[in-house]
């Protein structure tokens, strides 16, 4: 959507003058689908979450200690919020968790916008991370040269790995869901093998863990000036936010972005208009690979300082939820990544302080996605009226 095409809004001023920037911004925000439904999904998840918290303390439940249950629920959510925002340390951890989620989320979002489904975030992240970590521990030079090179290497590896499902789809009609899942498995095994080679494996270690990235090759920390080493948030978040801005610029301001959006919204019309579907599929996947590769680079160069076989964790999959929750818009994806990052950071504190297992966070995330996927259910429960055409992120169905 351009800033002009708010999906449902008929309130736009008549043909005479174009609405000012602020008005256009509000028009875009102020739609049931784009904002209200995700918020309602989040609220619904929190409400169902209370049941999970109550069940997590089965003794209280059995004793019928209603007051105790309620106070546990309140304590848990308070700790969650405190752990996420209300201290510098908590906010720092939120940023750390948010960074790869945002980058990988953009990697999924760009394919959603092109009508494709990229489940390969994990694989692209792994490859990107390996490229970055290799430059990180082999090079020795000033950080100002080494860091950009390592980031670039990560991005390049991500692109190269991302292109594969694109080419397979464009040239051989291989469904991208299948190919990206398979490529994730291949990447995981490949990384495991790499980490056992002498080039990568840390001296004196038998387990698959890479050499440490040179100190000057690490992404600089954000709060370094405070001299508190536990604040590990790093430049990755700046890269991620810049990537989100790039995402917006690409889609709204370039011919390629116009083509990607057209291809995603109506592939037949895109073909009729002379756009080349194969080219767009490959390009979209290349861009997705770049974002995911950056996510991998940011993890190994910033947060972790080395690569293990599981440095990508489940981020590639969580990113799908982030993109869905953010409706594949740049602002939405940033907010969704922030929310998921905050849940993750706050969840740790919640577990420590109240004993409610951190798995609650996973349940909340899953519930959010479930509710997002069921807009009719949300409308029915919260009695929101449907407004205009639904603009759910569209992607090709099975066999398309």
């Amino acid at each position: 959507m351009t800033e002009l095409s708010s999906q449902t809004d008929p309130v736009v001023a008549p043909n005479a003058d174009r609405p000012n920037a602020f008005r256009r911004f509000v028009n875009q925000i102020d739609t049931t689908n784009a904002v209200v439904l995700p918020v309602l999904a989040f609220l619904s998840a929190l409400i169902v979450g209370t049941v999970v918290i109550a069940l997590s303390d089965i003794d209280q439940l059995r004793d019928g200690d209603i007051g105790g249950i309620i106070s546990t629920i309140i304590d848990a959510y308070v700790a969650l919020i405190q752990g996420a925002f209300l201290s510098l340390n908590g906010f720092n951890e939120t940023l750390v968790a948010m960074t790869p989620l945002l980058l990988a989320g953009l990697a999924v979002a760009i394919t959603f916008r092109a009508g494709l489904f990229n489940i390969g975030g994990t694989g692209q992240m792994l490859m990107g991370g390996m490229g970055a970590v290799f430059v990180g521990f082999t090079m020795s030079g000033p950080g100002i040269i080494q860091v950009p090179l390592a980031v670039l290497a990560g991005m390049t590896c991500g692109i190269l790995y991302g292109i594969i499902p694109g080419v397979l789809k464009a040239r051989a009609k291989v469904h991208e869901v299948i190919s990206t899942i398979m490529l994730n498995a291949i990447a995981a095994s490949f990384v495991l093998w790499l980490l056992k080679t002498d080039t990568f494996r840390r001296e004196g270690r038998q387990d698959p863990i890479s050499k440490l990235v040179n100190p000057q090759g690490r992404l600089p920390t954000l709060f370094g000036f405070l001299d508190r080493p536990e604040l590990r948030a790093h430049l990755g978040i700046v890269i991620a936010l810049s990537a989100a801005v790039f995402f917006w610029w690409l889609l709204e301001r370039t011919t390629l972005g116009f083509e990607i959006r057209a291809q995603g919204a109506n592939p037949d019309a895109a073909r009729y208009a002379g756009m080349r579907p194969g080219h767009l599929i490959i390009t979209s996947f290349a861009i997705a690979g770049a974002f995911a590769g950056l996510a991998g680079a940011s993890e190994v160069l910033g947060t972790q300082g080395r690569a293990t076989q599981s440095f990508a964790g489940s981020i590639g999959f969580d990113a799908i939820a982030v993109a869905l929750l953010g409706r594949s818009t740049p602002i939405g994806t940033v907010l969704a990544a922030f929310l998921f990052g905050a849940l993750q950071a706050g969840g740790q504190k919640m577990q420590v302080e109240t004993g409610v297992p951190v798995d609650l966070v996973l349940i909340l995330r899953a519930l959010i996605v479930l509710f997002i996927a069921a807009p009719q259910l949300m409308r029915a429960i919260w009695r929101v009226k449907a407004e205009g055409a639904a603009a759910a992120p569209s992607f090709g169905g099975w066999g398309s």
Partner: protein
């Protein structure tokens, strides 16, 4: 039996589809329900058939209030519906399709084919449908498939039969046959509701005509007292012009030359069978034919959406046989595609974005990789004004406009360039009368400016009204190539049905 719809109101978000509609349907007569697209005809019938529930109002049968929760209730009350898009299983026989859902079964639910065949045969004879119960439905022509649908409805003992745009898919000859069936149903004491936007047919077959406009019943007419023009004005709500004003064509040099073109369809069968056709500058060549006789594939091949097997296509001397859509566009060919929702527009995009959908890649709308949106917006404002597109703003999503205005967006986009050739496929399908007038006038204007126009339409009236030359496609071949002045509806109708073929000149 007398069925009454009283004060039916149905609201959808943002629209009142039916607004206090009153309608009486009696057995033994044909009621035509006419109205433009979006007037609420289909909504009303879906309420009658139990697919929607009215927000207000009642349905009564002989004075007794009915409550239809589902089509099952409507069928039980004696209401049958023949949908525009048939609901048949192509790999089943006629009899199997007819008894589907109420099959005569024997021990352990075994289908009794013999009984089914006998029952279906009997019904078919009684109403003169001439159906073979053992024929496979997928092998039957569309007109016969429609009879299977009719038989399905009769078999469920419908007293009132609703036909939704029944003639859209039929040849002129099949339409004549269809009207005979309608007559015999009427004589058998059934009530018929005939939904259409073709006024000639309503006048021809109906005993009573009810007119819907913007969700309201604006009146009833007796076909004996009213002519097509006043009926059209009743439907649209203002004075309309049904004929196209145009001066005789002044054809120039050949612009489009198609030689021996062979195109294969998606199913691997030959759809365009070695066609040769010339269109000259300043003339409109109309391609008539029943839907599915290769017209779509011909247009796709010409516009670069489908690669021909053999033959050549040139536009003003430039070979575009193997060109893609972009190259065809750059050869100054405008294309109004047959399915605007599927191909012509991106519904989720704004009107402005759709206005540059085929031109976004070139100056002044972009340079190298950057879009120049302010230029595009200015152009869109201009086109919206010039082509009278009714939209709240150029920022409105194209999908939210009415069919006619969506089509005007496409027409504006394609005609605002300097064209050598215009390929217009079904340019007014599903478009309101007012927009039809406008689009036709624009096409004639292009012709008068020296553009060669290839008009493909399954509406024979449209071809006859616009074309300077009429060619008829039947089973992938051109079976007639006639000057408009030398031919008439019934002759073209015969060619369309394949009953006649012109000797190659």
């Amino acid at each position: 039996m007398e069925l009454e719809l009283r004060g039916i109101t149905k609201r959808f978000p943002g629209v009142v589809a039916n607004d206090d509609v009153n309608l009486t349907i009696r057995t033994g007569e044909v009621l035509a329900l006419v109205g433009e697209n979006g007037a609420g005809k289909s909504t009303l019938m879906n309420i009658l058939y139990g697919l929607y529930h009215a927000d207000e109002g009642d349905i009564t049968i002989d004075g007794v209030t009915q409550r239809f929760e589902s089509p099952g209730d409507a069928i039980a009350a004696g209401i049958g519906m023949v949908h525009q898009h048939f609901m048949l299983v192509p790999v089943f026989t006629v009899a199997e399709n007819v008894v589907l859902g109420i099959e005569p079964t024997g021990f352990l639910g075994k289908l009794q084919r013999g009984t089914a065949n006998r029952q279906v045969e009997e019904f078919s004879e009684r109403y003169g449908l001439g159906l073979d119960p053992e024929a496979m439905v997928g092998d039957l022509p569309v007109g016969i498939q429609q009879r299977v649908e009719i038989l399905k409805v009769l078999f469920r003992e419908a007293k009132i039969v609703v036909f939704d745009e029944p003639t859209a898919v039929l040849t002129p000859q099949e339409i004549v046959e269809f009207f005979k069936i309608v007559e015999s149903l009427k004589e058998s004491g059934r009530g018929i509701v005939f939904i259409t936007h073709k006024l000639k047919e309503a006048l021809h077959v109906a005993d009573r005509i009810a007119v819907l406009r913007r969700g309201k019943t604006v009146g009833e007419a007796d076909p004996k007292d009213i002519d097509e023009l006043s009926l059209a004005e009743m439907m649209v709500g203002r004075a309309v012009q049904l004929t196209v004003d145009k001066a005789p064509a002044q054809p120039g040099d050949t612009t489009l030359a198609i030689k021996d073109l062979h195109v294969i369809g998606t199913d691997g069968r030959t759809q365009v069978d070695h066609i040769s056709l010339d269109v000259r500058a300043g003339e409109i060549v109309g391609v008539a034919g029943v839907q599915g006789n290769g017209q779509s594939e011909l247009v796709e091949a010409l516009t670069g959406l489908r690669m021909p097997i053999s033959g050549t296509v040139t536009v003003a001397g430039v070979d575009i046989t193997d060109a893609g859509p972009r190259e065809v566009h750059d050869a100054d060919v405008g294309h109004i595609p047959e399915d605007r929702q599927r191909e012509g527009l991106v519904g989720a995009f704004s009107v402005a974005e759709n206005m540059v959908l085929t031109d976004y890649h070139s100056e002044p709308f972009s340079s190298s990789y950057r879009m120049h949106w302010p230029v595009a917006y200015a152009k869109a404002e201009e086109l919206v004004e010039q082509y009278d597109v009714r939209t709240p703003s150029i920022a409105a999503a194209a999908g939210t406009l009415s069919g006619g205005n969506q089509q005007k967006v496409i027409v504006a986009r394609e005609l605002s360039r300097d064209l050598k050739l215009l390929i217009a496929s079904q340019p007014t399908r599903g478009v309101d009368v007012g927009s039809i007038e406008y689009i036709h006038a624009q096409i004639v204007k292009e012709r008068d400016a020296g553009v060669a126009v290839l008009l493909v339409s399954t509406e024979l009236d449209e071809v006859m009204a616009l074309a300077d030359r009429v060619v008829v496609m039947f089973r992938g071949r051109i079976v007639a190539n006639l000057a408009r002045g030398d031919t008439n509806h019934s002759e073209v109708g015969l060619y369309m049905a394949g009953a006649k073929e012109q000797e190659p000149a």
